[in-house]
């Protein structure tokens, strides 16, 4: 069976599949980078939940995590990688195909 013959749900990305990770990736897709706290507030999850989900996204190569300081305060910055962006776009295409079916 070719990709074109497969139902669109088979093209959904397993890593982005989960709602929290989907929201994180969707949020990061609209920014060059964002602070951990901004993502936490935007996606409305706790620090621990975000940290756990970001770790999974980082392992998949979808999100890059950078740590640094603003003044003396530690900051964590999150960036969607090009691999993550491609996966998210493919996921959206599958969703649109399902939504339109």
């Amino acid at each position: 069976m070719t990709d074109q013959q497969q139902h669109a749900r088979f093209r959904l990305d397993e890593v982005i599949h989960a709602p929290v990770r989907f929201s994180i990736v969707a949020a990061l897709a609209r920014v060059d980078q964002a602070e951990f706290a901004a993502v936490r507030d935007g996606v409305q999850v706790s620090d621990s939940v975000l940290s756990k989900q970001v770790t999974l996204l980082e392992r998949a190569g979808y999100v890059e995590v950078k740590k640094g300081y603003v003044g003396k305060r530690p900051r964590t910055w999150l960036t969607l990688t090009s691999v993550g962006e491609a996966a998210f776009n493919e996921h959206l295409l599958a969703l649109r195909a399902i939504a339109g079916s």
Binding site: A18, F22, R30, V31, D32, Q44, L95
Partner: protein
């Protein structure tokens, strides 16, 4: 909470999803925004500020070196470094950087620095006599223009 993600069974994307659930997920994807109006104000001020200080350093280079004031030139370059550090500190206060900002800023900054280099080169190739203040003021304004345009584009990103 509206649009709050969860991992409950039956929530969008948790299993074989229906068209309605896919539409709901797409709504979530288009509704999440991390960039606040405060972030945008900070970034616009940063980009415009870079234009202002590069323009200022062009003018000050002329104002000091055309009268042989090398100490004044060194001081103005130091002030430039301090102002740039201050602007970078201001920029770091933005919690989210909108997509495309870095590209717009880089283009604006490179264009402004190119005009600065051309301006400095032109000024120093016309030392007898030195160009008039009004000419240098106009050159400074033109030098800042790419950064001002970049700042306006960043401002427009908010409305897009």
């Amino acid at each position: 909470m509206n649009g709050v993600p969860s991992d409950r069974p039956g929530s969008p994307l948790s299993s074989d999803i229906t068209a309605e659930q896919a539409r709901s997920a797409l709504d979530v994807a288009s509704g999440v925004s991390l960039v606040t109006s405060r972030d945008l104000r900070v970034l616009v001020a940063f980009v415009a500020g870079v234009g202002v200080i590069v323009a200022a350093i062009l003018y000050l280079s002329w104002a000091t070196l055309s009268v042989g004031n090398n100490v004044g030139f060194a001081i103005s370059m130091s002030l430039y470094a301090v102002a740039l550090a201050l602007l970078l500190a201001i920029k770091s206060r933005a919690r989210a950087i909108p997509r495309g900002f870095q590209r717009i800023y880089n283009i604006g900054f490179v264009a402004t620095m190119t005009l600065y280099a051309i301006g400095i080169g032109w000024i120093f190739s016309h030392q007898s006599p030195w160009p008039s203040a009004s000419v240098v003021v106009w050159m400074s304004i033109v030098t800042a223009l790419p950064c001002f345009i970049a700042a306006a584009l960043v401002q427009r990103m908010a409305r897009a």
